[in-house]
Amino acid sequence: MANAQLPILEARNITKRFPGVVALNDVSIQFMPGEVHAVVGENGAGKSTLMKLLAGAYTPDEGELFFQGSSISFNHPREAQEVGISIIYQEFNLLPERTVAQNIFLGREPSRYGVVDQRQLMRQTQAVLQRVGAETMISPDAEVKTLSIAQQQLVEIAKALSFDSKVLIMDEPTAALATHEVEILTRLIHKLIANGMAVIFISHRFTEVFDLAKMITVLKDGQHVATVAADAATPSQVITMMVGRELDQYFPELARADEIGAVALEVVNGSNAKLHDISLKLRAGEIVGVSGLQGSGRTELAQAIFGVEPFTSGRILVKGTERPIKTPKAAINLRMGFVTEDRKAEGIFPNQPLNDNILAPVRALQALLRRIKRFGTAEKPQLVLELVQQVDVRTPSIQQEVQYLSGGNQQKVVLAKWLASTCDILIFDEPTRGIDVDAKASIHEMIRDLAQAGTAVLMISSELPEVIGMSDRIVVMWDGRISGELPAGAGEEAIMHLATGHQESHRTAVPEPRGEGTLEL
């Protein structure tokens, strides 16, 4: 038992450089067996780099890793896995078309003369599924694509256990899970550490960090800020360590009454396959926040208004005139813009230069714009340069391909793109998801500036502080409907009641929901 005092895994003076950045600078951390260790920090703080180094996907430039007291180095993730370090990435490494058993034992199938021993494979799979407590939930011969995200995660964990892992690293394990699924995961993690495993995880959700972790390590700009015991720190202390300032200062001021103008957009009884009876007004100069849980129809609402998945019944009025919006092009023609949640898939052309990205909607509209003589010489690089400066994109040149920019900067490019087309109505879907605190604050300011300039803004966000801090009015969605509307400054509790489908009158009976966290960053 003397061993219990020794770290199972230790990083000593680790430095990792990438072209142009020091991703990790002289970081030393000890991970103890039987403990959950959370690693927190802003985006770009070096968390993922650290995880990949521990899991053998990267090799450190300086410093050493120690496993059970002896120095160790990996050339391939497989080598780390073989000594007992497994990693579960946010994007799962599973083959959707193959069965659970085939996935778990891929490359290690029990076989004789090259022929897979199916019965043995099923038996072994059943055994590992049992270890994660999923033997009744998941069948070994189910195809992975038929499983829920939570079940797939259990399969990933089962796969890790099948290597007899002593260290399990998880990158944002709860990001895609519903509340009750988080509980299943929590129970499982408790079971794993009870058996002496060390669990290391990255999370942005502070509720879970403080629920689960014994130790919390804070990284900032590639530096190790501190490692503290979870029960000796408060969330706001940890946040202060991460960002070096208090949360409250982030948000620009709300609109004054005289800044809010005429109704720019009105939806009357809009419905489609996923939305029911949506009625909504959006005024010039106003930011309306849309809140709601995962799957409540938030994104679908934006897509319906913007003509991606249009309403099949009901009406849309733009500046008082009824307009059918059946395609995004129709929406753009009406001077609407949509800053999408999924930047990679919908918002940017990753392998085109910044310049072309920003000008894409302008070019799509050129004919129209020329007619109204507002953008006669839209192709001037000056415009792009101005916008790049305005939204503060950090880029060596406007000819830089967007795929090489960081997540926060990509988001700013998407923003600049819509600024270039001078919209009257802008829809933001998760404008600050996955970007660092500094970039967040500047994006918030930009959104407010736009509203002050007369733009009507609809802002969808899963982060309650953002909705509360930014919105002049808050619309809450539940089950494809608008379950209620709240004035500026409404409390988190009031929003969560509507978001979980409870009426105002039941307020006192409902416990405060967890998960869709109040302290999310």
């Binding site: 993730p77 497989r78 896995q81 490494n93 599973l94 083959l95 959707p96 078309e97 193959r98 085939q102 891929l106 490359g107 290690r108 199938e109 076989s111 090259g114 022929v115 897979v116 199916q118």
Partner: protein, 328 residues
């Protein structure tokens, strides 16, 4: 009633795990019988014509099995048609009508095939050249070498070797048995062996496979070797029916594009990792039925091609629509 039978068919297919292409196969066959009864001579169901139909599918069928393997690995092989020509020419050239030279000639062409497959696989996996270009390039090299050496029919296969193309065991043509054997072996390799599992994995996601410790390059190379060997077998079958090989037999048969079409119609994803040889067999038979039907009805050759093309697109579009519906 038809709705009910349709749902019965669906549940039956789910239970037997037959790929959905078999539903299309049944539809095409029924349509062919009906059309032939109305506009033709109503003989399409006679055993002679049915047997002929399958025999005609054998050449395409064998190489399509190999093509299925490379396409499951998310690769593709455009060199098969040229390799079939090379095999046909080299086999008849080396045999020179002498039964004693058959084993040597067969060994030689399989050797050539293995080398071609190895080269294809190495270029695709090690040099990371897009498989379209890699195998097209190898195919053109083969074509050039062949045209430089031979101009027309050369040599001949001995009568005994023609048993492969024309022989029968009882009432069943040997060629059909060969196609069935290749299909069954292919299906077993895919479903039962580690190589099969790894092939699906590599085609499904190379990076996941690599992180799971698979030697992904080897899997891709082996798939290409298998494909080339099936092309050689097709070449031998073709030359056994023609008696002598000419440099154009493979390319005239359109074995490259037709085998790819048969695989895709059979339900194997172009992106890899999904499908199998059982589906490919149905894809090949669909082509066989269409050809026979068009012949029976005396459809113009060019119209035939138009119809074939349209049917390929319809079949593949129906899968896309199905999977989109499932996703929704």
């Amino acid at each position: 009633m038809t709705v009910k039978t349709l749902s019965n068919v669906r549940s039956l297919m789910r239970e037997t795990r037959l790929p959905p292409v078999y539903a299309i196969l049944v539809v095409v066959f029924v349509a062919a019988v009906v059309l032939d009864a109305i506009f033709g001579r109503g003989q399409i169901t006679s055993s002679t014509i049915l047997t002929n139909m399958v025999v005609r599918s054998v050449a395409l069928g064998i190489v399509a099995m190999g093509q299925t393997f490379v396409m499951l690995a998310a690769s593709i092989d455009l060199s098969v048609a040229y390799l079939i020509s090379v095999t046909a020419v080299m086999a008849s050239y080396l045999m020179q009508g002498d039964p004693n030279r058959v084993p040597m000639a067969v060994a030689a062409v399989f050797g050539i095939g293995a080398v071609v497959g190895l080269v294809n696989g190495l270029i695709v996996s090690k040099l990371k050249v897009n498989p379209f270009i890699a195998t097209l390039g190898v195919g053109l090299v083969l074509k050039g070498l062949l045209n430089a050496s031979f101009e027309t029919f050369v040599g001949a296969v001995p009568r005994s070797f023609q048993t492969l193309g024309y022989g029968q065991i009882g009432p069943i043509p040997i060629s059909i048995l060969v196609l069935l054997a290749v299909t069954i072996i292919g299906a077993l390799v895919l479903s039962r062996t580690k190589f099969g599992a790894h092939l699906y994995a590599v085609g499904g996601n190379v990076e996941t496979s690599r992180l799971s410790g698979l030697r992904t390059d080897r899997v891709i190379i082996l798939a290409h070797v298998i494909c080339s060997l099936t092309a050689v077998l097709t070449g031998l079958f073709v030359v056994s029916r023609l008696r002598s090989g000419a440099p154009w037999v493979g390319t005239d048969g359109l074995y490259d594009l037709e085998s790819i079409a048969a695989v895709v119609v059979g339900g194997t994803a172009l992106s890899g990792g999904k499908g199998g040889v059982v589906g490919t067999l149905a894809g090949v038979l669909i082509f066989g039925i269409l050809d026979t039907m068009f012949n029976q009805l005396g459809v113009d050759t060019f119209l035939k091609q138009v119809l074939r093309g349209a049917i390929i697109i319809l079949a593949v579009a129906s899968y896309t629509i199905r999977s989109r519906e499932k996703a929704a």
